[in-house]
Structure formats: C-alpha cells, structure tokens
C-alpha cells in the first residue's frame, strides 16, 4: 500500500499547465463574446441587409449590408454564429456555405461599383464541410473571393473578432488591412483537426493549439496580420462597449490612412503585401549536401 502511494504523482505537478494558446482559443470561442453582427450594430448606423447570391439561395451564416460609418456610406459583411441553439443550427454554427461567400462577393462588387469602402468581420470555425457545399463548389467560391478581393478597387479592412478558421476566414480577409482582436485566433486548421491528423489523437488539442502559433500575437509576429487590437481585461465579453470603441477607433484610423492613397497605390500596396507575405524560405544550400536537383 505504501509503495502504491509513493508511486502516485504528488499534487498537481504532473498535470502540465494549460498553454496560453488554449486559454485564448477558449476566449475566442466564448459564447458570450461579441459576434460580428454585434460589432456591426455598435459601430455602424443605418444597416440595411442585402440578401442572396442570385444563383442558389440566401446563406443564413453570412450577412452583408449597406451601412454608414460616421455618416459615410460603406459596405459591411460579417458571418453569423447565432445565440440560441435554434439560431446556431440555422446558421450552421457560423460556417458559411458557398452561397454565403458568393453573397459576400456580390456585396463587395456593389461596393466597388459605387466606390464604397468595405469592412468585413470574421468569427467562424471554417467554411461548412457538407455534401451540398461540395456540390455547389465550396472551393471555387472561396477561391473566387480570394482573387476578386485582391483587386477590388476600394479600400478594404478585415477584422477577425473570434475564430479565423482557415480558407473560410481568408475568403473575407484578402484586405488592405487585416486586424485581429487580442484574443482571436487565425489558423490554417482547427487544433482538434490538427491533433487528430498529426498526433492521431484529438485530445492533444491543447498541444496542437500551441504548436500552430495561431494566437493574434503569434500571427502578428509571423507578419500575417497588420495590427492586433487590445481587448478589455479578461476578454471582450467582459466589456463589449470598450471592445466596440477600440475597434471603431482603429477602423477609422485605418480608413483615413487608406484614403490618402491613390487608387493605383492602394492596389499596388495590397498586391505587394500579399505577394511578399509569409516568405519563409531560403535558397542557401543545406549544411549537409542535401538533395538538390538544380539544373
């Protein structure tokens, strides 16, 4: 008996501390956190929603509309997660179908036609993975948005407010400015997905969260986002009004800055930013004469 006792770990020392990345992941996913539509309602006035992608339907996980920002006409786009269970199911927990991305693009094209700046707000785990989504071209819809956003002839500002889930988030975030809230995440894959693929064990999600370096601070350090916005103590859910005020102030600042550029400069800077983003390569020869088939 005594031997058995001795073999036990003492206190909590054997339990590794919860990594910071996981604490932030839980904050990003906190159901009390303000969602994109909360930011839109607080920051913009005269929001008038536009519906439908003109080819299949009106995705309930994506919202777009005409609005005013300090009196100026703008286009705002955000995905919807829903608050009640019924709403969450209807909105597929925030994951858009292809028609959601096509609706967003349609709204952006309207904004471009009338020279209105575009603001997008992103909080989604990813594009919806379903049979219908595949049949209607989820990949094509996202791809089209990436290409078109790269050349929109108006200023664009994307804000990741919670989860920035892979291609589904990027499809709203090829913008002149990409901002992240302090406790938001931006990742190529969910920590659960990464853990089940790389560790063959979904319960290693905390480890995966750390390894993926997807917190706002890490993503900024990697040069993949333009600015990280500080949140109220303990997260935006503790003081939504303060979070709205910060976002509003920064959006105003960036829009003013972008306004000083000519259209050609704006397009060139956006192109250059994405052309030179995330260049993590070297062309120096490896230390041991590694396989090189240079011709």
């Amino acid at each position: 008996m005594a031997e058995k006792e001795a073999g036990r770990p003492q206190g909590n020392t054997a339990v590794p501390p919860v990594p910071e990345a996981w604490i932030r992941t839980e904050l990003a996913r906190n159901p009390q956190r303000p969602y994109p539509m909360d930011f839109i309602e607080a920051i913009f006035t005269d929001f008038s929603e536009i519906h439908g992608d003109r080819s299949f339907g009106d995705d309930q996980a994506m919202s777009a509309g005409m609005a005013r920002f300090h009196g100026e006409p703008v286009m705002v786009i955000g995905n919807l997660k829903g608050r009640t269970l019924k709403e969450r199911v209807a909105r597929k927990f925030g994951s858009p179908d292809p028609e959601g991305y096509r609706k967003a693009l349609r709204a952006m094209k309207i904004a471009e036609k009338f020279s209105r700046p575009i603001f997008t707000f992103i909080d989604l785990a990813g594009a919806y993975p379903g049979i219908g989504a595949e049949e209607r071209g989820q990949g094509e819809a996202i791809a089209r948005n990436l290409l078109e956003m790269a050349r929109l002839r108006v200023p664009t500002i994307a804000t990741i407010t919670g989860e920035g889930g892979s291609g589904g988030a990027l499809a709203l975030a090829v913008a002149d400015r990409v901002l992240m809230l302090e406790n938001s995440i931006y990742s190529v894959i969910s920590p659960e997905g990464c853990a089940s693929i790389m560790w063959k064990d979904a319960s290693r999600k905390q480890q995966a969260a750390e390894a993926l370096k997807y917190t706002a601070g890490d993503v900024q350090a990697l040069g993949c986002v333009d600015e990280v916005l500080a949140e109220p103590e303990g997260g935006s859910q503790n003081d939504p009004a303060a979070a709205f005020a910060t976002v509003e102030e920064r959006l105003r600042f960036h829009l003013t800055t972008l306004r000083t550029l000519s259209l050609d400069q704006l397009l060139e800077e956006r192109y250059r930013k994405f052309r030179n983003i995330a260049q993590f390569y070297t062309s120096e020869a490896a230390v041991p004469a590694a396989a090189s088939t240079g011709v």
Partner: protein, 282 residues
C-alpha cells in the same frame, strides 16, 4: 522408398540464374489486375486494362508534356520552418526525409519550355513530398511561375496534386492561398492564359485557390477533388458518402470542370486550347 530421389538436397538459388520479380509487377487499384510495370511506364502510368490513372511525380508529368530541352527552375528554395513545428516528429526531419526520398527541396517543380510550338510555364506539384502540401516554398514557387508568365506573357499551366495547405507551417501556409490568388488576378487582368490541371488528389486550400481559378479547369479521370476531405464531411454529417462523391466526374456533372482529359490526351488538349487562346485573330 521413393521412385525419384533428389541427389543434392540443396536448392541452388544464385542471383545470376534467378529472375527477380519484385517490383516488376503492380496491382492496379482500379481493376485489381496485375500489370507489368514496364508496360505501365510506357503507358504514362495509365492502366491499359481499366484506364485507372496512377499518381505520377512532377518531373514525369513535365516530361510527358514538354518538348525536350525544357528547363527546370526555382528548385533551390527550402522551407525555414517558421513555427519550429513538432508533432510526433520534428517538421525539420519530415522535410529532410521527404527531400531524401524525392530528390526535391519541396513539393513543387517549375519548368520553362515548349508544349508543341507553344512556349509555356508549368508549375507541377509533387504528391509524394508530404502529400503535396503547400507551405511557403510551394507558395513562393508558384508565385514565381506567375511572375514569369506575367513577364513573358507565356501561358501558365499549374498541375495540382495536393492534400492542401501544409499544417506544419500554420498560418504561413494559409497566406500562400492569398499570395497565389493575388498573382492570378494580375495574370487575368493581363489576359495571359492560365489552365489549371487537377490530378488525384486535389483538396483543401489548393482547391480553394488556384486549382479552381483557371480560364479552364480540367482534371484527369477519377481524381479526388474537393474542399473538405471525405473524412471531415463524414464526421460532420455522420453518414457514409455516396460512391463517386468528389471525383472528377462528380465535379463535371456539377459544373466545376470544363473537361475531363485522360493523361495520354492531355498534351493534345492543352496544345489545342492554348492555340485557341493565343492565335492572332483575323
């Protein structure tokens, strides 16, 4: 007492007199028949019995399309492991193993050459290098192919074979989608032809960016092409997926491919399409 008796009990199996058969035959996953490997090779790795398209490497692919004298370029780039990623193994050692196995620095090969009479730029993905996944090197290499096309106005062909973004480079690999798509927007504005050729498999971030953005999107028969992987969808909807879901034929039926082109007809198809795009109008 037996009628016949073996004088020497040792069965001689010396290498000189034995015909080695390992690796000479392969079983076709399509029709389960056994095929002589040399026949398969001479048939561009297409099963002569059922037409199943075996996966082939980037260099074989380029060789099958371009005239002799083409040049392989941009081969020197290597990933710097921006996340210092470790799962069960170090990403660095995964890279080293893949480099050793394939003789390539990453999952992509760029080529400059002629397809028939037509000068072209080709970017071909290598599936056997970490599942053809796209990280910083693949992104930069494709972006360089686009730059070359923009500069020379020579048509661009990208041949996809990839599981999607490379998770070990995290957000950096996601950014490659934006990088390549921004380049393709310029190429489109410049009216330079771009044909996307999808081969088995083309999924995830590759489908959600350049693979679907060609002036023409074509695919080899029977290739798996989709955004979400079949397992992810099955877990989401908790149902088995129908037969043929996310195969080339399924995408053609739903309007996401311009054509399904067999490997042996590929060169002819590309040559004809590019000639249609680039011929001077009368």
């Amino acid at each position: 007492m037996s009628w016949f008796k073996r004088e020497d009990n040792e069965i001689v199996n010396d290498a000189e007199r034995t015909v080695r058969t390992e690796g000479l035959w392969v079983r076709c996953p399509g029709c389960r028949q056994v095929i002589f490997k040399a026949d398969l090779e001479s048939n561009l790795y297409v099963c002569s019995k059922c037409g199943h398209h075996f996966r082939i490497g980037a260099r074989e692919r380029i060789e099958s399309l371009l005239e002799p004298g083409y040049e392989l370029v941009d081969l020197d780039l290597r990933s710097t492991d921006p996340l210092e990623f470790t799962d069960l193994k170090l990403y660095k050692s995964r890279l080293a193993a893949a480099q050793k196995k394939t003789g390539l620095n990453d999952a992509i090969v760029n080529a400059i050459g002629s397809l028939g009479e037509q000068p072209v730029i080709i970017s071909a993905m290598e599936y056997s290098f970490i599942g053809g996944s796209m990280g910083s090197v693949v992104g930069e290499t494709i972006a360089r192919a686009i730059d070359r096309s923009l500069e020379t106005r020579h048509p661009l062909i990208i041949i996809s074979a990839s599981g999607g973004a490379r998770m070990m480079e995290g957000i950096a690999s996601l950014m490659q989608l934006a990088k390549i798509s921004a380049g393709l927007a310029r190429l489109e504005d410049a009216k330079v032809p771009y044909i996307s050729v999808m081969t088995d498999p083309t999924t995830g971030g590759v489908t959600a960016s350049f693979a679907m953005l060609g002036d023409l999107n074509i695919a080899e028969p029977g290739a798996l092409i989709g955004f979400a992987g079949p397992r992810v969808i099955e877990q989401t909807i908790r149902q088995k997926l129908p037969e043929g879901f996310q195969r080339s034929e399924f995408l053609l039926e739903h309007g996401f491919l311009d054509a399904i082109v067999g490997r042996k007809e590929m060169k002819q198809y590309l040559s004809q399409a590019l000639s249609w795009m680039t011929a001077a109008s009368s």
